[in-house]
Symmetry: C2
Subunit: 258 residues, 2 copies
Amino acid sequence: ARKIIAIANQKGGVGKTTTAINLGAALAMSGKSVLMIDLDPQGNASTGLGLLASRRKTTAYDLLTGEATLEQAAASTPVEGLSIVPGSGDLSGLDVELAGEADRGERLREVLSAEEVGGKYDYILIDCPPSLNILTVNAMVASDSILVPLQCEFFALEGVSQLLSTIRRIQLKINPRLRMEGIVLTMYDRRNNLSAQVAQDVRENLTDVVFRTIVPRNVRLSEAPSHALPVMLYDPDCAGSEAYRQLADELIRRNDAS
Amino acid sequence: ARKIIAIANQKGGVGKTTTAINLGAALAMSGKSVLMIDLDPQGNASTGLGLLASRRKTTAYDLLTGEATLEQAAASTPVEGLSIVPGSGDLSGLDVELAGEADRGERLREVLSAEEVGGKYDYILIDCPPSLNILTVNAMVASDSILVPLQCEFFALEGVSQLLSTIRRIQLKINPRLRMEGIVLTMYDRRNNLSAQVAQDVRENLTDVVFRTIVPRNVRLSEAPSHALPVMLYDPDCAGSEAYRQLADELIRRNDAS
Ligand SMILES: Nc1ncnc2c1ncn2[C@@H]1O[C@H](COP(=O)(O)OP(=O)(O)OP(=O)(O)O)[C@@H](O)[C@H]1O
Ligand SMILES: Nc1ncnc2c1ncn2[C@@H]1O[C@H](COP(=O)(O)OP(=O)(O)OP(=O)(O)O)[C@@H](O)[C@H]1O
Ligand SMILES: [Mg+2]
Ligand SMILES: [Mg+2]
C-alpha cells in the first residue's frame, strides 16, 4: 500500500533534505520502491542525488502547473529503487503565480491521486522548503503523514508549536487524513548539554510522536552530498548510515504493522 | 550617516539570526545606535533578544501594512543602544495578502525613508527568513547593502549563485543603490576538511566580498538565545563573542572610511 510522507519544518537547516535523501535511500536499499519529490527551489535533494541542473528537463514545477505527468518527471538516482522528481528555481514563483487560483493548495494532490503510475511506489517522500508557503501546503494536502526533522537546538524547538498548529489547521480545513508520522531528532551532539536538554524537552511534551532513532551530528552526512551520493553509499559504516538504516526500519515496522 | 543592511540567504540555518543578534549587539556595545527589524515569521531574533511573544504588541507586520510607525514598533532589548521591531507569525501571510498590490516590494523602503526618526540610528539591520519571498524582497529594496552569512557546508555553497543573481535582478529593476556588504563565513569547524574546502572555494571565486572575520562553530552561540542574551553578554570571553566583536570592527572600519 502506497504511503505519501511530507518531510517538513519551516525552521531552516534542521536536516529536512538530509533526512529525505538518506531515509529514501535506506528504504530503497531494504527493498521498498521509493519516489522522492523535491519541492525546494534550492533543489538540494536533486543535487545530493546526482541530478546536475542540466539533467533536470522536467521538474516539480511542471508537475504543479500541469505541464507534465509523474512518469515524465521521475528520473533515476544512484540508488536502485529510488527515483526523483527534481526541484528547480522557478518553484519560488508559484506563490504569486497561483495566488488567484482556488485550487492552488491542491495541485500536487490532484497529480498524485490521478496517476495510475503512483501505485508502483511503496513510499513517496516530499522534501519541503523552509517555509509554510504554497509549496509546503501542497505537500501537506497531498500527504498521508508528515515527518518533522527537529534539530537539537533552541531556535528549532521554538518553531515546533507554530508548525503543529499549521498541521492542525490543514487537517481541519483541507486534508482530514493527514497524520503525524513523527518527529526525528537530528544533529544530536553528545558533547554538549543543549542537545540533551532539547531531546528531553521534546520527549516529555511530545512523547507519542518522537521516533526512537536519534540522528547524531556526523560530518560524513554533510560530506556525502558533495559526492552526489546518499551517506550509505558514501560511507556505509559511519554513524550517519547506521542512524538512517535504523530510522527506515522503524518506519517500515510502524507502517507494515498497520 | 545611517546605513541599512539586509542579512539574507535563502538557504536555511546558515546563521542569519545569530549574525543579526550578535553583530547588532557588538555594534551597539562599541557605541553605535542600532535598530534591528525582525522580518522572519519565526521571530527568532525577537526571542533571542528577550521579547517574549506576549510583549510583541506592535510588530514588523504592522510596519509593512502601514498600521504603525517605526517609533511605535521599536522596543528595547537587554543591550544599551540596540532596539528591535519584533517579528510575528502573521508576516507569513503577506505574500498572498499583498499579491495584487503594485508597490508590494517597496513597503519597507517607504517606511524607512519617510520617517524622520530613522535618522537617529547609525545602523539598521534586517533579519530575513530563509526564502526569496516578498519579505526578503522588501528588505533588499529598502537596504543600502546586503550581508550574506554563508555556512561552511556543501548545500550552502550551492545556493550562493542563485542568491547573487537575485541581488543583481533587484539592483537592475528596483534598487540600483543596493551593494554587497559582504559574505561572512559561519560555523567554521577547524576539525573537518569540508569547512576549509568551502572557505577556500569562496575566497577564490568571491575574493573581494568575503569578510576577513570567520565565525567558528561555538556551542556558546547556540546556548545564548535560550538565556535571551546576545553571546557577548552571555559569555563575553568565548570564541563566538570574539568573532562578532571582530566582525563589528571590520564593518565599522569599512563604513567609516567611505
Ligand atoms: N546529522 C547531521 N550531522 C552533520 N551535518 C548534518 C546532519 N544533518 C544535516 N547536516 C548538514 O547540515 C546542513 C543542513 O541540513 P539540510 O540542508 O539537510 O537541512 P534542511 O532542513 O533541508 O535545510 P533547508 O531549510 O535550507 O531546506 C547541511 O549542510 C547538511 O549537510
Ligand atoms: N557559529 C555557530 N556555532 C554554533 N552554532 C551556531 C552558530 N551560528 C548559529 N548557530 C546555531 O545554528 C542554528 C542555525 O542558526 P540561525 O538560526 O541563526 O540560522 P538562520 O539562518 O537564521 O536560520 P533560518 O534560516 O531558520 O532563519 C541555531 O540553532 C543557532 O543557534
Ligand atoms: Mg532542504
Ligand atoms: Mg533566522
